[in-house]
Each structure stands twice: as structure tokens, then as C-alpha cells.
């Protein structure tokens, strides 16, 4: 593993910036749907700016179609933004000019991310293209050890491994070249809860050891919150709230973020549980987003002003931003734990 040892307790400013997304926009043209008229445009990512420092994790949450995966593709350089820029690495070069192994990615389905005809060792070594053989072998050994896989597994093929082991191989492959940044796109979503916890622990430990920064994309708030230092909630191509992870427990301000947070199961926690905020409708498509606030059609507290005027992303504190005309207008409420009795239908 290369990468600097970053001792904890280092002041934020001294951590080098490894990701700077500046006002990035990505629009897709869709296929024609009628003989006349324009081809519809998808506003997948619509003016997003985020920054991330070494050794830190940014959690990106949102539902299907919010643009989080498109943002992931911009960060890894798989797609070029329509406008704006994405700078990566300690030297802050444009990602579209070739990331040079400085940005790696781990995806949701490890089985399809691994070549079924390649052994584990070969798959990991592939990421070390130009490295001489003895050096390469040594680093593959290190990577296997780092993700907690016994060396004898290196000779196996992906189908001989369990899902959790496959995902460890993917992580080893992402780590082995010593990247500055790893994109984790729903990286634990296909794993069982106890396995998720193991893999998240592993990721946290590796981050402490190598100082690699993570961008963790998921629809599952719980998993993201556990390892993230900062969180951003996306809705229809925009960030609607960005906050330090600690603020995500009680100090959420955007109604959509509050609704997402309310879906976390608070299983009889401390005698009280959080009431589910049930939103109307479903995540809309990013074709022709609404004129005012994009969340207004589903928002329980929206008024005419919200439907007309699009809100800006404004600073609440230095590291907490929100895009809402009525921040804090919807809050989490707790209900008593008597869910069983108040269900009715027993009488």
C-alpha cells in the first residue's frame, strides 16, 4: 500500500484536497418520443459542487434517478460533464484527462465486476499494469492481507467465493494501486446486514491505514452514515442538504432529508421510535424538472412560493448547507413504542 499515513487529529486544512467537483452539470439527450418536438433532456446532474479531503468519506444518498450514480461516473472520469469540472488527486488534475489509477471504484454487484475466468490474484494484479513482477506479487499479497483474505484464496476463481469474499477482492483490487480516492457505488447494498457491517469496518480500517478518501454512494442512509464524515442528500440532480455526519441525527433541515431519515428502523430504541414521514408520489424522472423547488410536488410543507421560486443551496453553518425555503419546517417526531397494539385489526 502506498499513500501517506495520516494520523488522526490532523487539522482539516492540512489534509490535501483530493476531489473538487465544481458546478458540474451532466445532461443526457433521450430518444425522440414523438415525430415532432424536441428530444427530451435528462438533467441527471444539475450544478453540483462538492469537495473532499484525504482520509475523509463523503456519503451521497438519494433515491433512484436522483443522479448519484451519474455523479459517480463523473468523479471516476467514466463520463465527461456537460459543463463544470471535476478535479482529482493530490495534484488536482482534471479527471477527464485520465485519472491514472488515482481514482478507483467498487460497485454493487461483485460477481459481475470480476472476470469469471480470472483468479483472484490475476484480478488484483491487473490493476498494477506497469509494475515489475516481484513487486507486483508482493503488493497483491499485501492487498489480500489488508482485506482479510487468506493467501490461498488467491488461486481461486470468483464463483468459488462467497459474496462477501468477492466484494473483498473488489476492494483489494481498488486499493492495490494506492489511489487517492475510491468511489463506493452501493458497495455493500447486495450484502446481508451482518456482512455489510464487516465490510464497512474493513473500509474504515483501510482508510485509517492508507488515508484514501471515499465517496460512498448509496440509497441506504444507515450504511452511509456509519462510515461517512460528511453527507450529501441528492434529489433530482441537485444536492438538497449537505452536513457533517453528526448533524444527520437530529439537526436535519430539508424535508426530503428528514423523510429519508425517518425510514431508518428505530427498533424499539430507548423506548421511543421515529415516526415514518410518508411522502406523496414517487421519485420523479429528471426530464423537465419542476420550475420552482424540485421537491415541492412531494413536499408536505410546500407553499406557492416553493412551487414558483427555486431555492438556492445556502450555508447554515460553515459545513452545513441546505436548499430549502423553509428549512427545519419538518422535523422528526418520535412515537411511543406501542406499535404492536396501535395497529388495530385485532378486535
Amino acid at each position: 500500500m502506498t499513500g501517506e499515513q495520516t494520523p488522526s487529529g490532523i487539522s482539516e486544512e492540512r489534509r490535501p484536497l483530493v476531489l473538487d467537483v465544481r458546478d458540474s452539470v451532466k445532461h443526457f439527450r433521450m430518444r425522440r418520443t414523438s415525430l415532432t418536438g424536441k428530444r427530451p433532456q435528462v438533467h441527471a446532474v444539475d450544478g453540483i459542487s462538492v469537495r473532499l479531503r484525504a482520509g475523509r468519506t463523503l456519503g451521497l444518498v438519494g433515491e433512484s434517478g436522483c443522479g448519484k450514480s451519474t455523479l459517480g461516473r463523473l468523479i471516476t472520469g467514466l463520463d465527461a460533464p456537460t459543463s463544470g469540472s471535476v478535479l482529482v488527486g493530490a495534484d488536482q488534475h482534471d479527471v477527464t484527462a485520465g485519472a491514472g489509477g488515482k481514482v478507483q471504484a467498487v460497485f454493487q454487484d461483485p460477481a459481475s465486476a470480476l472476470d469469471p475466468r480470472m483468479t483472484v490474484r490475476a484480478a488484483i494484479a491487473e490493476a498494477l499494469g506497469g509494475v515489475a513482477r516481484p513487486e507486483r506479487e508482493r503488493r497483491v499479497d499485501e492487498a489480500l492481507a489488508a482485506v482479510g483474505l487468506p493467501p490461498e484464496l488467491g488461486a481461486r476463481y470468483p464463483h468459488q467465493l462467497s459474496g462477501g469474499q468477492q466484494q473483498r477482492v473488489c476492494i483489494a483490487r481498488a486499493l492495490v494501486a494506492g489511489p487517492d480516492l475510491i468511489l463506493l457505488d452501493e458497495a455493500v447494498s447486495s450484502l446481508d446486514a451482518s456482512l455489510q457491517a464487516q465490510v464497512l469496518d474493513l473500509l474504515e480500517r483501510l482508510q485509517r491505514e492508507t488515508g484514501t478518501a471515499y465517496v460512498f454512494i448509496s440509497h441506504d442512509l444507515r450504511a452511509v452514515r456509519r462510515i461517512s464524515h460528511a453527507m450529501a442528500v441528492m434529489y433530482l440532480g441537485q444536492i438538497v442538504e449537505e452536513a457533517p455526519a453528526e448533524a444527520f441525527d437530529r439537526r436535519l433541515l430539508h424535508p426530503y432529508a428528514v423523510a429519508l431519515r425517518s425510514t431508518e428502523p428505530g427498533i424499539f430504541q430507548g423506548g421511543s421510535r421515529i415516526e415514518r414521514v410518508v411522502l406523496r408520489g414517487e421519485p420523479p424522472s429528471a426530464v423537465d424538472p419542476p420550475a420552482g423547488c424540485r421537491f415541492a410536488p412531494r413536499c408536505p410543507i410546500a407553499d406557492d412560493h416553493c412551487r414558483r421560486v427555486p431555492p438556492e443551496l445556502v450555508d447554515v453553518t460553515t459545513d452545513h448547507r441546505v436548499r430549502c425555503h423553509k428549512p427545519g419546517g419538518l422535523t422528526l417526531t418520535t412515537a411511543a413504542t406501542t406499535t404492536v397494539a396501535d395497529l388495530g385489526g385485532e378486535s
Binding site: R32, T33, S34, L35
Partner: protein, 315 residues
């Protein structure tokens, strides 16, 4: 839906144009010898040859010849055969209906046999009956056309004499007589084609029967026959239909063995005659009709598909 149809029509016309160019240039440009040399005979002087070439327009640049021919063809003028003096259109207009009818009847027979056999084989997949069906199918499919044709001819000439007719009877003259004459040739075409349809139906059905919505239909107590012949078969139909569209075009152009055996004046025999006569003016017309049959088969299937599976419009 309108957009979908417009797309399919445009592409059909485009493909037809491209094919017409291909057919024309392949006929005129690549094959050695031309009609002028055939007409003039081997001992003709260069002057006579040039005069004949001029008369036929063969001295023009190739693209001009193509444009002239295309404009003519669009007006229904396929030219006059410089060899026989016959109007090409008239010749083709006599041959094409024979082949189209034979291909269509053969196809209907192939579908009537292949579809149910495929469904039955799929529902018994891997069991004895599945193999009991598939092995004979493979044997039939491996039959060359002249074997099935000869068998059919032998049967009709010896045992089904009322179906046998030594010469072709046009449909317009005697509809029933025509269908009787065509039945044995159509069987000779359809039976060896049926395994193709059966095989595609079987594999498509096996895939669909494993899909979760079939389990759901079962969980809801829907009758098994309805699950097979409505829920599964309809879902499995699109690839089968696509194949059928291809087979139609394939048959129209590939009937010469059966036509020869049953002495039917179809396109297949016509093409052979044109080739042996080096009559490229007629051959291009015939090739164009065969190409059009391919395109027509595919177009009809494209139009039918959205009625079977609505998702196809958005693809």
C-alpha cells in the same frame, strides 16, 4: 406507435433502396460478360457490339444506368429482356405470385406444426417426450429440399392422385384447383421448415416459463393451459415472429428445388433460367422482388410485434 411505424417504414424503404443498388451493381458490374455480347454473338464486330451496347444503354456510366433502371422500376418498368424480347415485368408478375403463395402456404404449415410442438417440447423440457420430439425434428430438418420434395411428389403421384396435377393452375383460373396443386409442394416446403419454428418456440418458451411472473400466475391459481398458451406463449412469441419474418423472405427466394420437382413456374426457377441465359436485365428484376420479399416479411412482423408485446415500441 406512429413514430414506431414511421421508423420501421423508413428503414424498410432505405434497406430496399440499398438492396436494389446492391442487386443492380452485382448483376451488371461484377459478373463477366454482358447482354450485348450474348445478343451479338461471338463473331460480331466491335462496331456491332458498340451499337447494341448503345441501344441498350450499356455505354452509359454505371450510376446512370442504375438511376435509369431505378426510375423505371419505380414506375413498374423493369425493362424488356434484350434476349427474349419479353417484358420483364410480365415475366416476374407471373413468377412472383407462385413463389409467394408457395412460401406463404409453406410458412403457415411450418407454424401450424412448429408452434404447438415447440410449446409441448418446452413444457416437457429435459424429459423423455422432449427428446422424443426433438430428435425426429432434427432428422426432418436435416432433410434436403429435394428429398422432402421427391417424397411429397411420389406420395401425391401414387396415393393422393386427386391432389396431383402435372401442371400449374393459376389461382385466378381455378382457386380450389390451385390450392390442391399447391398443397403437396407447400407440405414439402413447410415440413422441413417446421423444426426451425419449433426449436425457436421451445427455447423462447423455456426461458419464459422460468420467469417469476409464471410463478405468480400459478400462485394465483390460474389454469395451467392458460398459463402455457396465453401467459407464456404470448410472452415468448416476439423472437419466434422475428424468425418467421426471416423465413418468409428466405423461402420466396429459395424454392427452386421444390418448384423444379413440381414443375411450378415460380421465381426460383425463373432466377435459374435468367442466370443460365445471362439475362441480367431480368435477373435484377427478380432479385429485387426476392429482396422485397425479405423486407416485406420483416416489415409485417415489425408491425405485428407491438400488438403482441407493447414494450417493443420503446426499444
Amino acid at each position: 406507435m406512429i413514430l414506431y411505424l414511421a421508423k420501421k417504414l423508413t428503414s424498410a424503404v432505405g434497406v430496399l433502396l440499398a438492396l436494389s443498388a446492391l442487386v443492380f451493381f452485382a448483376g451488371r458490374g461484377l459478373v463477366p460478360g454482358n447482354a450485348a455480347a450474348v445478343i451479338a454473338g461471338a463473331k460480331a464486330s466491335p462496331e456491332t457490339l458498340a451499337a447494341i451496347e448503345h441501344k441498350l444503354g450499356l455505354d452509359q456510366p454505371l450510376y446512370r444506368q442504375y438511376l435509369d433502371w431505378l426510375t423505371g422500376a419505380l414506375h413498374g418498368d423493369f425493362g424488356v429482356s434484350p434476349l427474349s424480347g419479353q417484358d420483364n415485368l410480365q415475366v416476374i408478375a407471373q413468377q412472383a405470385p407462385v413463389s409467394f403463395e408457395l412460401a406463404l402456404m409453406g410458412l403457415l404449415i411450418a407454424v401450424a406444426i412448429g408452434l404447438p410442438v415447440g410449446v409441448i417440447a418446452a413444457t416437457r423440457s429435459g424429459k423423455g417426450l422432449d427428446w422424443g420430439i426433438r430428435i425426429p425434428l432434427l432428422v426432418v430438418f436435416a432433410f434436403p429440399g429435394f428429398v422432402s420434395g421427391s417424397v411429397a411428389l411420389y406420395l401425391s403421384a401414387h396415393f393422393l392422385t386427386n391432389l396431383y396435377s402435372a401442371s400449374y393452375i393459376p389461382f385466378s383460373d381455378n382457386g380450389i384447383g390451385n390450392l390442391q396443386t399447391m398443397l403437396m409442394p407447400a407440405l414439402a416446403v413447410g415440413i422441413p421448415t417446421a423444426p426451425l419454428v419449433a426449436q425457436m418456440t421451445r427455447s423462447s418458451m423455456i426461458e419464459v416459463l422460468a420467469q417469476p411472473h409464471i410463478t405468480t400466475a400459478r400462485t394465483n391459481g390460474i389454469a395451467e393451459w392458460r398459463i402455457r398458451y396465453v401467459y407464456a406463449l404470448r410472452t415468448a412469441l416476439p423472437p419466434v415472429l422475428t424468425l418467421i419474418g426471416f423465413i418468409f423472405g428466405f423461402l420466396v427466394g429459395g424454392l427452386f428445388i421444390v418448384e423444379e420437382i413440381f414443375s411450378l413456374p415460380g421465381l426460383g426457377r425463373g432466377v435459374l433460367a435468367s442466370i443460365s441465359n445471362r439475362d441480367f436485365s431480368q435477373l435484377t428484376g427478380q432479385a429485387l422482388v426476392i429482396a422485397a420479399a425479405f423486407i416485406l416479411g420483416n416489415l409485417l412482423v415489425d408491425i405485428a410485434l407491438p400488438f403482441v408485446d407493447r414494450r417493443i415500441i420503446n426499444r
